[in-house]
Subunit: 181 residues, 2 copies
């Protein structure tokens, strides 16, 4: 049994789908924890995990995700959540008018096994769509078209999204580790 710490229901749903498929039981610890301001998603995720070790006990993981848009100097990056809550997808589309639209979505999982922190990373390249496509609306999904797909992540089912998403890829690496540990 493994604990997933997050205050985000959408993240848990995606993660739970992958864990179940792999026969791993999980508990969702719905907790908002403190994050540091850092330009590196790896470092934010590591620090958050490190601070929770004494609080949560062993065998838990959390994840930090961000979208990096090259034409915007990799904005919104580690502040993807705040920027989504303020200027939102509409703001991103406005900023990209007349600019290159490629973007990279990154997830870093940090896992505390009781002795050490391990990190597992997933990355998905893609492009920012020309408008907002509503569906399963979660963060930047309504404007992000993952490489190899012809529609935004918001129009994919959880299963379809997990196959190509940065979170799905990080989870697969994490699960491979767990199975061999």
């Amino acid at each position: 049994m493994i604990k997933f710490v997050s205050s985000n229901r959408h993240k848990f749903e995606e993660i739970d789908e992958i864990l179940r498929k792999n026969g791993i039981e999980s508990t969702w610890i719905n907790l908002k924890y403190e994050e540091v301001q850092e330009d590196s998603i790896e470092k934010i995720s590591w620090e958050s995990c490190n601070r929770l070790t004494s609080k949560i006990g062993s065998n838990f993981f959390l994840e930090d995700s961000g979208i990096l848009i090259e034409a915007l100097n990799w904005f919104p990056g580690p502040y993807s959540s705040y920027i989504q809550r303020t200027i939102g997808n509409e703001g991103i589309l406005k900023l990209l008018e007349g600019k290159k639209r490629n973007a990279t979505f990154v997830t870093v999982i940090s896992y505390w096994d009781g002795e050490q922190i391990m990190q597992f990373k997933g990355k998905t390249e893609g492009v920012i769509a020309n408008s907002i496509f509503h569906g399963r609306d979660f963060g930047y999904d309504p404007i992000f078209i993952p490489e190899g797909k012809s529609k935004t992540a918001s129009l994919l089912s959880i299963e379809e999204k997990n196959e190509v998403s940065q979170r799905g890829k990080a989870m697969i690496r994490f699960i491979e580790y767990l199975k061999n540990a």
Copy 2:
């Protein structure tokens, strides 16, 4: 003698001008410290100060500033520095096309006297200009016109800016406290 902790030379210059004028000696501790992710500038400033108490010793202060733009749901707020480094003033102007241009600049000073943390806040209303006016370029100054002025803060001298700026106002409150302490 009072210590000011910051990795930002521009902030020290402005602060030093006000302290000198009031006969207060200061030392600049050029240090980049960790900040938490929080939507409240007060909380970020308080936490940073609290973490430094054991490191710096008594009688130091630091400050956290942010610009809050109403039409952008108070973006960029506590992440003003990161957002300046990525989309910059050009990005802000783009986001504001066709929108209301009023903005509030806020500074929160946190002071550790060896026993407790005290906070002093300054606020300046203003509008975002229609283009970038280069001068003394520091952060959002090239696009922020403080209330009562007809030009951007970048075109004011340090003395002129301190008279109307949020940082200047917070400093005046702080100095009043120091003089009566």
